[in-house]
Amino acid sequence: MRRAKRTISPKRYNPKLPASAADAKGFRGASDMPAASVSVPGGSMLVCETGSWRNVRPVFEDKTPPCLPRCPAGENIEGHLDLLARGRDAEAARLLREDNPFPATCGRVCYHPCESGCNRAEWGGAVAIHSVERYLGDLALRLPAEKPAARAGKSGRKHRRVAIIGAGPAGLTCAWHLAKRGIEAVVFDREPEPGGVLRTGIPAYRLPKDVLAMEISRIVEAGVELRLGVEVGRDIAFEDLRSAYRAVFLACGYHRPRALGVPGESLKGVEDGLDFLRRINYGQKVTPGRRSVVIGGGNTAMDCARAALRLGSHPLVIYRRTRGEMPAIPEEVLEAEREGVEFLFLMQPAEVRGKGGRVAAVRCQRCRLGEPDASGRRRPVPIKDSFQDLAADTVLLATGEDADLSFLPSGWTLGDNGAVLDPATGHEVEGVFAGGDLTTSRKMVANAVGSGKAASWVIEKYLSGRSWSESLAELEHAPTSFSVARLEKAGAPPRSSEIVDATSINFDHFPKLSRASAGRLSSEEAIRSFAEVNQGFDRATAEAEARRCFHCAVCSRCDNCFVFCPEGIVRHKPGKACGDYEIDLSYCKGCGICAAECPRGAISMIRENR
């Protein structure tokens, strides 16, 4: 029986273990040693900081998402998508407006180069940033306007006043940014209504006039003064402006139509495209003939053709290059085609032929593509004796415009960066800055917004006491695509120059979701009126689309690093900096798993220098 009891408590030969560090010293031999290699309790574990094995260390380092530098208006796209994805729509709309006072407009007419770099492209299609912008822009129209900042006292007024020539997107953006910072901005425009080409050029089916009006009224409410119907050089001399205002921003755009330079141009029925659109946009009765021939391949040409279509005409667009070289937004070309606009490529007008003083036909010459020109596009080369007459009742010229800067002192030239050069002195003209179509590489609304913002930045520096050349030098820190919101934030570092591309995205962490598209009027319905074609996103679609954003390059606190760290030394920290994490470098061995598992490339591995 006693033996049977032993079955329950078998003999054990457990290893002896050192009770304290003192015990661990000076073993006599195997008899007083632990059987296995085990450190003394509370002993060396804490002092063996395995982080010393590390050659590289992870750092949380936000980089730049590919959409950001592509936005000519410098919007913090990732930021507003993040807020929207979290259901904080109003905050998202406010963040968007901090950089761009025209989000409802840009959300309709922008050519959205942001989307072309989107790393989502291969994973269900680029995020529909443009449509989301429109949703937020429309939402922003319902939010209270930004309050104007307190202005300097009466005595300092002149020193805080800026004249802006042109109430288009560049001028109004500049004025708005200045007003928000307590600087008095007075905008002059020869038109009776503000908006520039947004008001006069873009038809209502793309940009409803009430949307534009509301957006501009927000800008005015922020403390911008408009002087409409005043043409500088005619109603007021440029030099008078310079003496009355500390700085002048030239943002008068490209308005003077380029002559076609072919016989018959002055026949009845030949019209400037922008003027044609202007009359429509002001509600005048416009009746193009049965057959309109639109000459040009840019957005104005598309607008003319689609507007003519809505007025009962049958438009034909002729363009001297091919579809690939068209400067128009590709979607606009597609829309025009869908609605029934006809196109003829590799055709250039040689003569407008008339009958009884009225246009009857456009004589065209066939072209082929030759060597690339300065713009990088292949030059059209006319083919000998290849003429063709195209019947026309109306001819709309949309072959580009030029600036009318005749009000400036003779000889002044505009630099690419916006500075104005006086050859007489060989220096930049102090306090005068140019933007919008006058200087931007692409004559687009978003570029105008960006240049207006840059102008406000330079002018504000100048008004706060820097020299003009120092103020211009600021542009290096604030390129065209920059976020004022970010620059103004004290301590916010400038965006990293490293752009995160698809190779840094860990696609395994993202579901493949298809891009949403906005509803649109059917072509049959669209061409019956100037009602807006694109129906936009509703709230659910916009938020779902925002959730498709990878937040490339920017820590979104997704916890992947926290979860995947095999050492358990990526931890949450109480404060909030870049992410909510801290890494215990005492034990980080630099394995790089956190960086590999970061879905968006927001963790960098940097070499240790020891």
């Binding site: 033996r3 049977a4 032993r6 079955t7 329950i8 408590s9 078998p10 003999k11 054990r12 030969y13 457990n14 290893p15 273990l17 073993f27 031999g29 195997a30 040693m33 059987a35 296995a36 290699s37 085990v38 450190s39 003394v40 309790p41 509370g42 002993g43 060396s44 574990m45 804490l46 063996c48």
Partner: protein, 401 residues
């Protein structure tokens, strides 16, 4: 199969339900009865149905264990090392290449003194690719510090796994339980499943004196300088030698508790045998039939079957074999350039006997890669041995030259 556990009819022996199950299921039931807490494994034929059954038990809640899926056997054993360091009872099963892949971590488990139990279903190593039985996989792990026990029947497999945990936890040495592919792993026979409460009395919970404890951090398996390494190895050696006692005691206690015990070396009609056959695993079962036939013809032959290979039961082998004239060892394994591994081990074990009272050891390598070892094959081996015919480095039986 002819099994001969030395049953002791004891009124105290706990009896259980008899199920007709495969050797693999017998192992799974044994692991469950041992209340294993962590199972980590990677599938490999012919072992797979062991861990499949265990995963079902975990899934149904019948077994309260963590089942950790891994991408390799190396990771499986690594998981168990971690689990065992926390004080969990840990189990895995593998075969052949899987065991070979574990090799590094087998050393680690033994060196860190972790009482893990592993079941290896013997399978030939490739190439040529072969899934049938062959002992070279487990015998290749001879020097890892693991104890090894070879089983002859499904019942013995179940009983041995339960014993293995007690042996392992008594001396803190990991134990490998070995069974033949297919002839045990996939062959069903009646197996008595002991009642859980009786197993619980035989196998108390594992409570290591030291284990991973976040409140009291320690470093396990760190650097040991030359001044202490050898002493550590000595402690493993000394404790491994104790397995002979501990395993014998566990087997005796098991016999008392459940009515079945096997001994470290089974002797079958060995008393007074002039010629002894030595075989392990299911070959021993077949051999018993042949021994019976020879005995009927008046030939004094018998069988010895070592269950324990590491540590090798030298004294038991000497005492079992010393009176025989010849000992014919059948090896379903081979150490290339050396010959049958059990034969080599046995020669070394018997060498300490005076030359006059030491049987001549004849070596026969047979049944590699699952070739059948039929009664006829064993009969021919016995005939050859009876006549003293064997090549010095071992005869490869039925080799097609």
């Amino acid at each position: 199969m002819k099994t001969a556990p030395r049953s002791r009819s004891s009124a105290r022996a706990a009896r259980g339900e008899v199920k007709v199950i495969t050797g693999n299921y017998a192992v799974a039931y044994a692991a469950k009865l041992s209340r294993v807490q962590v199972v980590s494994a990677y599938p490999i034929t012919p072992q797979t149905s062991i861990v499949e059954k265990l995963s079902e038990m975990c899934g149904s809640g019948e077994l309260a264990a963590e089942f950790i899926k891994v991408e390799s056997e190396h990771s499986a054993m690594s998981c168990l090392v971690g689990a065992s360091l926390t004080g969990a009872r840990a189990f895995t099963a593998t075969s052949s290449h899987g065991l070979a892949y574990m090799h590094e971590v087998l050393h680690w488990a033994a060196g860190q003194r972790l009482p893990i139990v592993l079941v290896n279903v013997n399978r030939a190593l490739g190439p040529g690719w072969n899934i049938w039985t062959d002992q070279t996989d487990s015998l290749s792990q001879r020097d890892t510090g693991w104890a090894q026990l070879y089983c002859e029947s499904n019942q013995e497999a179940l009983d041995t796994v339960i014993q293995a945990f007690r042996i392992a936890e008594s001396v803190l040495v990991p134990v490998m339980v070995v069974l033949d592919a297919f002839s045990l792993s996939h062959t069903s026979e009646g197996v008595e499943i002991p009642p859980q409460d009786a197993v619980d009395r035989f196998l108390p919970p594992y409570r290591p004196a030291v284990r991973v404890d976040t409140a009291n951090p320690r470093f396990f398996g760190g650097l040991v300088m030359p001044e202490h390494y050898m002493e550590h190895r000595w402690l493993l050696e000394e404790n491994s030698r104790r397995i002979l006692d501990v395993a014998a005691e566990a087997d005796r206690d098991y016999g008392r508790a459940f009515g079945r015990s096997y001994g470290l070396v089974e002797r079958y009609r060995a008393a007074g045998a002039e010629l002894l056959l030595m075989a392990t695993g299911t070959v021993a079962s077949t051999a018993k039939e042949v021994i019976d036939a020879w005995r009927r013809r008046g030939r004094r032959v018998g069988l010895v079957r070592p269950r324990l290979f590491r540590p090798f039961p030298i004294e038991e082998m000497r005492s079992a074999c010393r009176l025989a004239r010849r000992l014919a060892v059948i090896d379903r394994n081979n150490s290339f350039g050396s010959g049958g591994i059990f034969a080599t081990e046995t020669r070394a074990a018997l060498y300490g006997l005076p030359s006059g009272s030491r049987p001549e050891v004849l070596s026969y390598v047979a049944g590699l890669g699952g070739r059948d070892i039929t009664p006829d094959v064993i009969d021919r081996i016995l005939s050859a041995a009876w006549a003293g015919r064997a090549e010095p480095r071992g005869t490869w039986v039925d080799l097609k030259k």
